[in-house]
Symmetry: C2
């Protein structure tokens, strides 16, 4: 008989939660359109034919369809388009009253200044939450568009009733799109806030000493199976943001997604843990939908 | 004979450092004006007659004079001025090519929405660094105006060669004007960055356990002499941001400034420590001058 404590963790099922939230959004959109109003409308700009980018944008378009949003994909296959041309496309989307929000899929070709393009997006339509105004408002605790991954993490914590107030959260990684914003949110005064937050990164001297103190760990450093069982305490809550592709000849694609957490080891001590895949990933697309719905309501 | 270890700390003398930096700025301004160009120009908007605000603005105007900046004080003694009127004054300063930067001294009368006024300041002239665009850029690690107190703290660490990389910094307090931004800067990739940073606050459960681990403590919670000797480890670096007025019948003013740190106790264990007064305080005014000089250079 298996050791009961070894499998007593709660799986933080991002796939299931994402489906639930999509159903809620779909119901709300049905109500909106039944009342005679137009549906929310998300646009995406994609330049080139990067396989990853095509896949990501495809997921986003499909998710729009699932919830009844209108979506528009501006796909410029010619990677030699100028920055000026792209800035003009952004301007047109900014000015189009039928577009509630839009994203510019990264990466952009190297001759285009991505920061400049992202800065050109109207903050009121910046559903990716990458514009400094939205980052600044998030930092200041004001209403803003929070970018997809950190927003998705807060939704997981919220919906699974993970208490953050007064807890010690350790965030591993300090990227602008995950580590930094989630640390600010956990440390803020919002619903999934009021935690004591430590941000660790590649320069951290005594990482294990710190992770061993954590009540909640957000692993977002991008190193497959980095966080091992000996680095966490009993009862810890784990959110695994890693999505590294590792070679796997037995998989159909020749690779599999691996998180930053050694699931087999860490799940034995965790009270709750996200899987990879099926954890944070599905929640990021849903977060984009939530932001688009928010933008729609602000325009309406 | 006194115990030698009891007085072996380095005093992080903000007053002395502020004077040094002011001399450097004055020399630079002399060079600028000697070359026939106009001097940098800082403006301040002050509404009402709050004693504290008058004092602070007075310090800023005086500091401008000391370094050769031009300064303009728009003092509206009538607290019944409308928000619209004030927004129009902000607009005029935004549009005035002779003004490099300006501040709106807080607090404003209650009938005026301070957030709205601060949002109206051109980010390129926002030398207080309060506009969400500047907060966002700071958070993203982009060039920005960092607000005065956190900028002053980084200057103290930098000029006194306090190593932050790989160190564990504990920030007590999560305010938008001190705790939050300094934690972001210490955790960033800049000169005084690359630290492992823990942000503690009123909801932190085990504060002493955390402060005992700190290599550097930024105390910014606003409770006089909160941090005591038993809460810190030997060799810690202390930056005391507290400036509480406490009654003192023996003082001429009837009160004295007290920091958040029990200096007598903590200095016995610290390797370096800021005094109050004469530590962070004088550096905040200098930071405003540094930001104004930066704005001037960006305009020129």
């Amino acid at each position: 008989m298996a050791d009961a404590t070894a499998t007593s963790y709660q799986l933080l099922d991002g796939k299931k939660l994402a489906d639930e939230i999509k159903s809620e959004i779909a119901a709300e959109v049905s109500g909106i359109t039944a009342g005679g109003k137009r549906a929310p409308h998300l646009a995406a700009i994609l330049v080139g034919n990067d396989g990853g980018s095509l896949t990501y944008v495809g997921h986003k378009v499909k998710a729009c369809e699932q919830v009844g949003f209108k979506s528009t994909l501006l796909h410029f296959t010619d990677t030699s388009i100028t920055e000026e041309f792209l800035l003009n496309e952004v301007k047109k989307l900014n000015e189009d009253p039928e577009i509630d929000g839009f994203i510019v899929q990264l990466p952009l070709p190297k001759h285009i200044d991505a920061d400049k393009v992202l800065m050109a997006v109207d903050p009121a339509k910046d559903v990716d939450g990458f514009h400094p105004v939205n980052v600044g408002k998030t930092t200041l605790g004001l209403s803003s568009f929070v970018s997809a991954t950190p927003l998705g993490i807060t939704k997981i914590l919220e919906r699974y009733n993970i208490e953050t107030s007064g807890k010690h959260c350790v965030v591993i990684g300090r990227s602008n799109i995950v580590g930094r914003p989630i640390s600010i949110l956990l440390n803020g005064t919002g619903k999934t806030g009021n935690a004591t937050v430590t941000v660790c990164h590649s320069r951290t001297a005594n990482l294990k000493e710190i992770t061993l103190q954590a009540d909640i760990i957000i692993a977002a450093l991008g190193k497959p199976e980095f966080l091992t069982g000996d680095m966490v305490k009993e009862g810890v809550v784990i959110v695994d943001v890693g999505t590294s592709r590792v070679d796997d000849p037995t998989a159909k694609a020749g690779w599999r997604l691996k998180g930053d957490v050694n699931f087999a080891e860490v799940s034995k001590k965790a009270s709750a843990i996200t899987p990879v895949p099926g954890g944070v990933g599905p929640m990021t697309v849903v977060s984009l939908l939530l932001n688009t719905l928010k933008a729609y309501k602000q325009h309406a």
